[in-house]
């Protein structure tokens, strides 16, 4: 892994919302072709970290490099060229409601390439075949199920044959079988098309299935990093608690501040 090309690098990333520090000095390298899973509890900053890599958020300090270029100091027009090499799968699919499945996938091809209409239509069919939804071109997002929407979202993310795909909780809210289908699709895509995948999830089963490498985020910091086996045998009590899903442990579920009795008798 050491001698592989670094495609994304995050350096000393710090981000606060209001007074709450969400990311507190995150350092991270993603190698070309690997599947990196970022896991952690709700509110630990994993989605925020992902959005710094896609450029949706600007950091308070620190920087993100994609293919060696600092995207935090880039002009919008320059960054648009970088955006064309990555795709993103959203937590709730975020398909364009007013367009059918085919238009959802082809929009980016129509806007950024000069391909003829019939070529684009063939490409859409190929992407839909990859996610097992050929024949659903003319359906609207509201007419298909949640799992199908997620798969269309995946097809849309790979429409431009990206080098990097970001997944924001790709299996959240799906039944175990559909979640398994999504996992297999992610695996297939990274193996067949050699796509670098960055997956944010708190679904442990999914994380251990697809990951080459896992990092765990807690209170804005990376507390563990390693292959799935290393993570499973990790000794950090916070990591053990998270992997086992234990309600008692160093990570406190209750986030109350102040003295309980004091507040009651105020």
């Amino acid at each position: 892994m050491e001698n592989k090309e670094v495609i994304i690098e995050v350096k000393d990333l710090v981000k606060s919302f209001d007074d709450r520090k969400v990311l507190d000095g995150v350092n991270l390298k993603v190698h070309k072709g690997e599947t990196l899973v970022i896991m952690g509890g709700s509110g630990c900053g994993k989605s925020t970290l992902l959005r710094h890599m896609t450029g949706a958020y600007k950091p308070d300090s620190g920087s993100t490099f994609i293919k060696g270029k600092d995207i935090t100091k880039m002009k919008e027009s320059e960054f648009d060229n970088i955006r064309k090499i990555f795709g993103m799968v959203f937590q709730y699919s975020a398909l364009y409601d007013s367009m059918d499945v085919e238009e959802n996938i082809s929009l980016v091809l129509k806007e950024h390439t000069k391909l003829a209409k019939d070529i684009i239509s063939i490409m859409v069919k190929m992407k839909l075949e990859l996610v097992g939804l050929r024949g659903f071109e003319k359906f609207l997002p509201s007419q298909i199920s949640g799992g199908m929407r997620r798969r269309v979202g995946l097809a849309r993310a790979i429409a431009m044959d990206p080098e990097i795909v970001f997944y924001d909780e790709p299996t959240a809210g799906l039944d175990p079988i559909v979640a398994g289908v999504i996992d297999r699709l992610i695996l297939d895509l990274s193996k067949k098309l050699h796509i670098t995948s960055i997956v944010v999830t708190h679904d442990m089963r999914s994380a251990f299935t697809i990951a080459d490498r896992i990092i765990m985020l807690y209170e804005g910091k990376i507390i563990a990093e390693g292959t799935p086996d290393e993570i499973k045998s990790g000794k950090d009590p916070r990591l053990v608690q998270f992997v086992e899903g234990n309600p008692d442990g160093p990570i406190q579920f209750f986030q109350n501040s102040g003295e309980y009795l004091e507040e009651l008798t105020k």
Binding site: T54, A56, E76, D80, N81, R83, K84, F86, G87, M88, F90, Q91, Y92, A94, L95, Y96, D97, S98, L107, V108, E111, H112
Partner: protein, 265 residues
């Protein structure tokens, strides 16, 4: 006391930042309208026409009803006054001039703000809260170019068109009342209308409607793109958008009428 002052301060600050945001959006819209086509990134023609149909053609019926009945009411109210002077036939000029200068543009703008402005905010707002706006950005598709410019252009072109239609329908309402009820001779009604109506009456009304169109589009898009807080947030943004548009349309009407009045146009 201190709480009140800081409360007022925070309201002023948030209002100023919203006004600033609307002007920034205006600048970006102009950029994508005029510079965009030359760098090969024009707004899609299909979207512009779809928005024009929704904004213009689909508003015809409601604009017809509002203007036609307003014309009838205007004719009745002015006939009541003019009868005391024995000058009922001037109902024609009164209806025509007040429709063209004032009521046509303003009523159309208010109707369109309620119908189209609300729809724009609700649509963009729900796109925002379901991450569709972020999806557009991730695909290197600028939301201003892709969503705002077509709506802005559609309102800019269709609101003056609807205003012309509204002027005509108001005059038709006045004609129906004047000829069939008050008893003015049909030919005379039309003659007086044409004699008294000058070109400037019409174009000042149209200039107003161009400004109203920009106001409705910018406020509607800005409120939509800055929605937060789920379904409830979309509802709140839509209400704020319509109320703000109404106030701004009337305020702009007041300012523009003042300018036309004092510059003797």
């Amino acid at each position: 006391m201190l709480g009140m002052i800081s409360g007022i301060g925070s309201i002023v600050l948030s209002t100023l930042s919203q006004v600033g945001g609307i002007f920034i959006l205006f600048g970006q819209t102009l950029y994508w309208m005029f510079i965009g086509p030359f760098i090969g990134k024009a707004a899609s023609r299909k979207n512009i026409f779809a928005q024009m149909v929704f904004t213009g053609a689909n508003s015809l019926l409601i604009v017809f009803f509002v203007s036609f009945f307003t014309g009838i009411v205007l004719a009745m109210q002015s006939a009541y006054q003019l009868a005391q002077l024995g000058a009922e036939m001037y109902v024609a000029s009164l209806v025509a001039v007040s429709m063209a200068r004032e009521l046509g543009p303003v009523l159309t703008a208010l109707v369109v703000a309620g119908r189209v402005g609300a729809a724009i905010t609700a649509e963009l707002g729900s796109m925002k809260v379901t991450e569709q706006i972020e999806a557009l950005q991730t695909q290197a598709l600028n939301p201003v170019r892709y969503l705002v410019v077509p709506r802005f252009l559609a309102l800019l072109v269709m609101l003056p068109c609807l205003t012309i239609f509204s002027d005509l329908m108001g005059m038709l309402g006045g004609y129906v009342m004047g000829v069939f009820n008050i008893g003015i001779n049909s030919g005379m009604y039309i003659d007086i209308t044409i004699d008294f109506l000058t070109l400037k009456d019409i174009y000042t009304g149209l200039i107003k409607s161009v400004f109203f169109g920009m106001i409705i589009a910018l406020i509607g898009c800005y409120m939509g793109l800055n929605t937060s807080g789920g379904a409830e947030g979309v509802g709140r943004a839509t209400t704020v958008s319509v109320v703000t548009s109404f106030i701004m349309v009337i305020l702009a009407d007041c300012i523009l009428t003042g300018i036309f009045f004092f510059s003797q146009m």
